[in-house]
């Protein structure tokens, strides 16, 4: 058995892969959060519940409609995103003039309702969701065994993150978005319908969470609490990365996932707290976050 830093190389790479997968989810979720925060100035506490709903849509359409993974990957963001748009139109839009904290509180309340509802309907034990047939099996890379599905998740997430980044930074629509975060009145005066832009952005951010949920379904089992467990970690990722930055969300997400994986190898007891420790250190040195601009 080959050793690296005194650790069997397969265990090391296995944990790194696991870290990369977690990182992919952190990145996708904090990307959605950053997007929503950028335009709505609201920390979307419901994000975890929306991620969970994405996973549930996958499970429900399989068990009730017999539709598989690929259909779910399309349906979940549409359905959950539409629900998000409804929430934005009926509730969030009333809060923009108030202190940003009210948005946090409202979305927290929504998260409680959604999670409580799913718990009431499905209990907390969770349901298994099989890996789609095309992505079963794995490759032997020599130094480690790579399950195809996990490779797919990392690639798909990278693709999604990159796509979103390009959309925001390189397209005309993206430039409207960025301008609207700076000065909504002025952008409105140029004839851009800012409220519609805001609504669609919320829907898009929520849809990202739902896609992440579908991808998570075969890895973590589908259960009502899966969102609330991951969302706090994602908040820490967001604080570390710097809230305003799309790139910060992506890079920090992957980086911290890997760091978590490494910690699992070398000092397993600290694995679940390492991200918070990093957050404390970053706050001490650079309170605005690694990629944040100003305070």
């Amino acid at each position: 058995m080959t050793l690296l830093f005194g650790i069997p190389i397969q265990a090391l790479f296995g944990q790194l892969l696991l870290g990369l997968i977690n990182g992919a989810f952190y990145a996708m979720l904090s990307l959605g959060l950053a997007l929503i925060f950028g335009l709505l100035n609201i920390i979307n506490f419901t994000h975890g519940a929306q991620y969970m709903m994405g996973a549930f849509v996958a499970w429900l359409v399989l068990s009730h409609a017999g539709l598989g993974y690929w259909a779910a990957l399309l349906l979940a963001p549409l359905l959950v995103g539409a629900l998000g748009i409804l929430i934005e139109r009926t509730m969030l839009s009333r809060l923009y003039k108030l202190d940003h904290l009210y948005g946090l509180l409202l979305t927290f309340g929504l998260a409680l309702v959604i999670e409580g509802g799913f718990r009431q309907l499905y209990g907390i034990s969770g349901a298994p969701y099989a890996v789609p047939e095309e992505l079963q099996g794995g490759w032997n890379l020599g130094f480690m065994y790579l399950p195809i599905y996990r490779g797919w998740v990392v690639l798909a997430s990278l693709f999604l993150c990159l796509g979103t980044w390009l959309l925001i930074e390189k397209t005309k629509l993206g430039s409207y978005l960025r301008a609207a975060t700076e000065n909504p009145q002025l952008v409105q005066a140029f004839g851009v319908n800012v409220p519609v832009l805001v609504t669609l952005t919320y829907g898009f951010g929520v849809a990202l969470a739902a896609i992440a949920g579908v991808m998570a379904a075969p890895i973590y089992s589908v259960n009502p609490l899966m969102g609330s467990n991951i969302i706090i970690v994602v908040f820490a990722v967001v604080v570390i990365g710097g809230m305003g930055s799309i790139l910060g969300a992506i890079v920090t997400g992957f980086m911290l996932g890997l760091l978590e994986g490494l910690t699992k190898v070398f000092y397993p007891e600290a694995a679940s707290t390492v991200i918070f420790v990093v957050m404390a250190i970053v706050l001490m040195i650079k309170p605005q976050g690694l990629f944040g601009k100003g305070s």
């Binding site: 904290l101 409202l106 309340g109 409580g116």
Partner: protein, 321 residues
Amino acid sequence: MNQEAISVRSRAITPQRLLVLALLLLALAAPFGIYPIFLMKGLCFALFAAAFNLLLGYVGLLSFGHAMFFGFAAYVTAHAAKEWGFSPELAILAGVATAAVLGLVTGWLAIRRSGIYFAMVTLAFSQMMFFVAIQAPFTHGEDGIQGVPRGSLLGFIDLNDSLSMYYFVLAVFVASLLFIQRIVTSPFGQVLKAIRDNEPRAISLGYEVEKYKLLAFVLSASLAGLAGSMKSIVFQLASLADVHWHASGEVVLMTLLGGVGTVFGPMVGAFLVAAIQNYLSETGSWVTIIQGVIFILCVLMFRSGMVGMLAPMMKKRGIDV
């Protein structure tokens, strides 16, 4: 104004004093009509909410991690009373001291950010403490610390008697409330309100805002710790539920429901939430759903809370709620 006039005025029966007196009498008589355990739960929650409100209502800082002080103090008190054989008053003191130190460290880091960031940073720290509580051997993970002895107060008041336990909790509660009132009406409290209303101006006036914020944070954490410590003695239990972020959310709900920045609001909110939990506990997840709905309604429709809505009306009659 001469000395005599002041003393006459301070002896006058104002509507405010009548209200306080009535509430106090009500609290003294309550255990004869209402289940004392429920009342004690309500009082612990009320103290927790009042501690939280000290920060949100008077400094304008929304902490989303107050469960870490409440829950961790509960663990330390439970451990000290059960494993080290501390008397209840010393065990509670140990819990409060722990919360104060925890408040100092996390507060020092958290006050570097404000608004939403502050909320998220406190939430993240609280989650870190949650993981510590799961893994540290002394907390006994999922089981929590059970069978905590109530002991006897100062060596001669047996706290196993529900009635004496209740009056002890009530005494601590009233003393803490007076302490909080003293803080918010002091010059220190005035500075806190100034920071809440206009931080740049407070800075320009030469106040070291960070120090004031940190002190307020530590005070609030300690009082939250006191509430948690009392709860672990009352229920003879410290568990993960107390450090979970849902507990942080609950205290926000209590304060919001009752009225942020009012004296009696957090208390009213705390008793309402305690009642919801008590009477709906058999309905399972409906408790969470109902709490969520109340949250949404509070934020969308009545942001000043129940007591907050009454406040202007009461003020006209000379009562400051």
